[in-house]
Amino acid sequence: MEEIKIGVYVCWCGTNIAKMVDVDQVVDQIKFLPDVAVARNYKYMCSDPGQDMIIRDIKQHHLNRVVVAACSPRIHELTFRKALAKAGLNPMMFQMANIREQVAWVHTDREKATKKAVSLVHAAINRVKWHESLDKRTIEVNPATLVIGGGVAGMSAALEIANAGKQVYLVEKSKKLGGYAAQLDLTFPHFYSARQLIKPMIRHVEDHKNIRIFKPMQINQIFGYMGNFQSTLQLANGDETKLKFGNIIVATGLQPFDPSEITSYNYGKLPDVVTSLEFEKMLAKGRIETCEGKEPKNVAIIHCVGSRNANYHEYCSRTCCMTALKFANQIRSALPESNIFDLYADMRSFGKGCEELYTQTSRKNVIFLRFDQQNGLPEIRSTNGEEAVSMLIEFTEQFSKEQVEVPADLVILMVAMESHADAKDISHIAGISMCGNSFFIEKHPKLDPVATTSDGVFIVGTCQAPKDIPDSISQAKAAAARVLATIHVGTIEVDVITATVNEDICCGCQTCVSVCPYKAISFNKEKGVSEVNEILCKGCGTCGSTCPTGAIRSRHFTDQQILSQIQGLLSPDNKFEKM
């Protein structure tokens, strides 16, 4: 066996790491460990000079293993693996120690943080000794795409891909395409008719030769991995159809918040308190009226219903403020003599043309009143016919600090956007994660807001976060471009971190067969041993930890690698020496 030569690099990450971890001390502590040939620290290991330093050392010192102590491997593992490959080393001969997210940023005692960093680096050095060269597997990308959800986002993505000449399977749960946007009357800030925007889009999608629509249809299971997914759909006539596709775009959309949770608004009890969506339908019908069919004299609009309040949702739903201004404009045109009260917490008019809409609306005799969204939600009560108006809204106005009563014949609640009730199921089916408030998590919140941690699965529209129509379409088209890029290249390379069986020591107990969630392990009766199907194996390693004889190796997470990592972590040599 060739002599092991390890290069160890400790990153300062500017002051991010260096402020809390004594990087010189870390290098001093580990440089005498067996097999460490080079140990250095540098300002930014991920920078070009940092990577060049590694490449140069590999060539000059004939290194065959590399350890970088820096940020989380979730951020830069790939960067450094590529640097290894550039230097002619197998990229798997690399291990990262996370001393930023899991040391420097979370601890306050420099001595203890440094000692912990030494332990983590020692563990990585121990582990990397047992790393082995693994080849990537090249797989072909199926050129078809599955789009889940037929709203604006889903349809935009589908059209973009179909127009490029590629097959799209569009699955919609309801009977109609168009989603939430199809239920709107006009859109902000330009007052385009939503129907006039959406209808041609639906027609394009329905007529497109490259789009096959399944509705009403629910996806129950998806098998496979990036490039080669498949699913079986149960058609209404009882038949089944098997679909194969290389990428998935999730566009499951939103659902409106149910305001009956907020008792002070009396939604569901007072018939003239309606949600923004119900008001859209009223506008679409062409007549603003109370439940008794009368023209309302006083109309009140309440913002932030279910948004920006820890009791409901902490996030801002982004579209309600501008929709409220749109309503005010529509009410003013339809009922020129009415009183319009806009009860808001903060007016959020970001985005192109939105601040202009606010200015324009403020000149239309709309009375803006500010309430306290945290401690002073308005109370809507009925006058029981004792006054000229049917309802009164009571709250403390925040500029005057005065208790006010606003008369209302019709109240519109600007309800929050929530992720769809099906999001949880879809997250399991598509193998993606949700953040605390049930929207799907993107791969990186800034640098990769369209992809997910599951390769080949993208999230677009309001299933990722509340957003308006143009933002949904931008995201959808971005995802479509990503999908088309993979189809264009035609193949992808994947890491082979699958399980493998040592047939000589497999005793044929089949425990591994029983624990594999992907049915990737089968029993070969002739040989009396288990066999792993590497296409189906996703490398979770649960078979490895259940095998009684140690016949199964979880590649890149072998027993030997992890055990030596533990030994390094707990080595009595890990210490901090006061200089």
Partner: protein
């Protein structure tokens, strides 16, 4: 000197390790006694890893996986739960306090929960004092 426990923590890649990273990006502070080892799935945590940690001087071992029903690999966390329950019984026979091992669920968005868990588990182990199993093994083998 106060007893500073050494704790080894095995975290699954998809939920818990990401949650621990989030604690970092959010600059939450927790005790430096926890040292993390990443595995792809909590189902990969072989009981021998836990025993190896105690054999090498760990005072406590913390296992974290995705919440029930949320496992990236469908059911690895349930297998981890079974092994955890088995280990606790086994610990009693070995003479290790079963409180020295803990399994909890941390999702990718639960940075705060991870920081709190790290602190509360550290306090539990601090209260139990050093684990002597390493000395026992060194004396009798």
């Amino acid at each position: 000197m106060d007893f500073e426990p050494t704790i080894v923590s095995f975290l699954c890649n998809w939920c818990s390790y990401t949650g621990a990273d989030l604690a970092g990006t959010s600059r939450m502070k927790y005790s430096p006694n926890i040292r993390i080892i990443r595995v792809m799935c909590s189902g990969r945590i072989d009981p021998t890893f836990v025993l190896e940690a105690f054999k090498n001087g760990a005072d406590g071992v913390l296992l974290c996986g995705c919440h029930p029903g949320d496992c990236h690999y469908q059911s690895g966390n349930y297998k981890c739960l079974r092994r955890y329950n088995m280990l606790k019984k086994y610990f009693v026979q070995l003479g290790i306090r079963p409180e020295r091992i803990r399994l909890d669920w941390i999702s990718a968005s639960e940075g705060k929960q991870f920081a709190n868990l790290a602190d509360s588990f550290t306090e539990t182990i601090r209260h139990l004092g050093p684990c002597k199993i390493k000395n026992v093994i060194e004396t009798y083998t």
